[in-house]
Symmetry: C2
DNA sequence: AAAAATCATGTAATCGATTACACGAAAGTA
DNA sequence: TACTTTCGTGTAATCGATTACATGATTTTT
């Protein structure tokens, strides 16, 4: 039925060559105005559609960009991807999604697949930082594919990144808890080989220090970002000789679990115990006991990553631009940490 | 530095032709075993990577599939996409994401872009059902690109779909509210030109009928899927002569808004008023007053859509297969509608 | 009017891989 | 030995668009 129409078909119909058709359609100034109009009209009439694959092969550019995330069904990553898509849509790029499910093997596979598919750029939030096997990353750089890290980044020369100031985020949240009168503040952290968790921890520590509060190793619990992990953490913390009176969690999910466990034990939040999380997941706002959390402006992070990509994509390959964008975190203070009720 | 290696480079090095190299790499049985091994070894040594774009041009298949959703940063759509990606990953397909933001213009643009990009299939949740301009859809079908609707579908011959039984979902939720003793059950609906909202409404109506409860037009409010919309709806409903004692909402967000507004007015949930939502968004489970909701198994829906695509993609184009998969909804009963507390 | 410049279009190579067809060499058959 | 298969590889077309270079037709310049 609807056979594919090529420029050769148009050329044949008009008794000219495909080269002329191509030039006419691309607004090449060397083409006679009359010819151009005729070609464009005929192309429309024949329902011609440019074959993007042929163009991609010829130009070496696919007009696709790849995005690699641990998983897509988290509000944070989905929002970043939304930002990327929205920013790139007007430029004609399509967004290819890959998930690693926190597997480094999968991450490497995805990197290779995307490079093989000739994407014009890759934006990713790294899954692990193990340095043993950087070959997939080196492959990307050797092929001159622009690479941009967002949120979770690795230290690689020539790679741009868009992150938030996690140190400041941790500092703000902790300082807020101190201001609310808490003096025994625990911290739920993640895998500190990842910068984001390391820096949130360091911000937490610095806030304690700046306010004359001793840092206690035993107050730091390493957990997964999951509700149950938060419950377990509270269980551990409450067995300490001096149990804490507040928690700053690097994860909203763990913060939620902590709150559930504290309620289970009839501990009054926020009066006896304050809790603050990180990421500003939608549910933190929706709860009756809304949860204080640090916002990472994921939409903006996505848009910014896309902009950094657009800046790099057309530059001459010789000049390597390495841009490090750091967004400001914003603390959303809510009920879970607001003692003074009027 | 890392120049692209092609089969011609390998051929030159081995003093054979590119055709032989191609055949060796594709395990063509006509190739001498010794040659095959030599080629494969040399290819690996030279770090050869097949150019997917060239392959795509030659074969007409891009190994990409397109997914079009209203927006990606909703747990439901993100989960469906996760399902699609996971199911298709082992088959070597990449997933391209497009958002419509509920704009039909955008939907049509996306359809055309994906077809032009020669995707091997399109999975989508339709944004609108206005029949005025079906040309984008017809274009997809004329080009023989497999098209699969999930969740929100349109009636188009030859198009498969994967949906849940929305009627049953509406019925289950409403029946449950009746069983809890509610007799004045209101319904928050969406744009009923979309089947999903129409069917949830019809299920609601049937459940009332089957249980001897009169259907009242004034109890049906058409809202957007948003927290504020739920608040406004409650405001309207409570002004009625006989205000309702329960709400079945087609949207979890509207249900949440309704609950917030009811609490604002010191109405006791669930004892004075019960609420049930739809979609089983994560927050419905996390709330202290957890919200009863109908689960749509989005992950399964995504996987199923991918499977339907895989079934269709290799069939001869002449035989059009139209498969309609209907998944069963599952009611998750939670605190917002459980009066009998033990 | 002859030479030079400009214009519009055609010719053919190119991007990288696949594959129908052709062909010479080796092996099998009569 | 002469004839037919079979085997392994080469030749060249193809997918569809772009573009450097060539060429013939106008137009401009002197």
């Amino acid at each position: 039925m609807s056979e594919k129409v090529t420029i050769y078909d148009i050329a044949e119909k008009l008794n000219i060559t495909a080269a002329t058709v191509s030039r006419a359609l691309n607004n090449n100034p060397k083409i006679k105005e009359a010819t151009r109009e005729l070609v464009i009209k005929t192309a429309a009439a024949m329902n011609y559609k440019q074959n993007k694959l042929a163009l991609a092969l010829k130009s070496g550019r696919s007009n696709n960009i790849g995005v690699i995330v641990p998983r897509i069904d988290s509000n944070f990553f989905a929002s970043v991807i939304r930002g990327i898509e929205e920013e790139l849509y007007p430029h004609g790029y399509q967004v290819i999604i890959c998930q690693t499910h926190e597997s480094i093997k999968r991450e490497n596979e995805n990197l290779h697949t995307l490079v093989d598919a000739q994407v014009d750029g890759i934006m990713m939030s790294v899954t692990g930082i193990s340095n043993e096997n950087d070959s997939a990353f080196r492959n990307v750089l050797e092929k001159n594919v622009p690479l941009i890290f967002f949120d979770r980044s690795k230290h690689i020369d020539g790679v741009s990144s868009v992150t938030i100031n996690d140190f400041k985020g941790g500092y703000l949240a902790t300082k807020h808890l101190i201001d609310e009168g808490c003096r025994h503040i625990a911290h739920l952290s993640g895998d500190q080989s990842l910068d984001i968790f390391k820096n949130r921890f360091l911000g937490y520590k610095q806030a304690l220090l700046d306010n004359g509060i001793d840092f206690k190793e035993e107050y730091v619990i390493y957990t997964k970002s999951a509700v149950d992990a938060g419950k377990e953490a509270v269980d551990k913390l409450l067995q300490l000789q001096t149990p804490p009176d507040a928690i700053f969690s690097s994860s909203d999910f763990a913060a939620l679990g902590a709150i559930q466990e504290l309620k289970e034990r009839n501990i009054d939040i926020p009066n006896e115990f304050c809790v603050a999380g990180f990421s500003n997941e939608p549910f933190t706002k929706f709860m009756e006991l809304s949860i204080t959390s640090v916002d990472q402006s994921p939409l903006e992070m996505g848009k910014m990553s896309a902009r950094v990509f657009l800046e790099q994509v057309d530059k001459t390959d010789t000049i390597k631009i390495e841009k490090k964008v750091v967004l400001a975190p914003e603390l959303h203070i809510r009920k879970s940490s607001t003692k003074t009720t009027f």
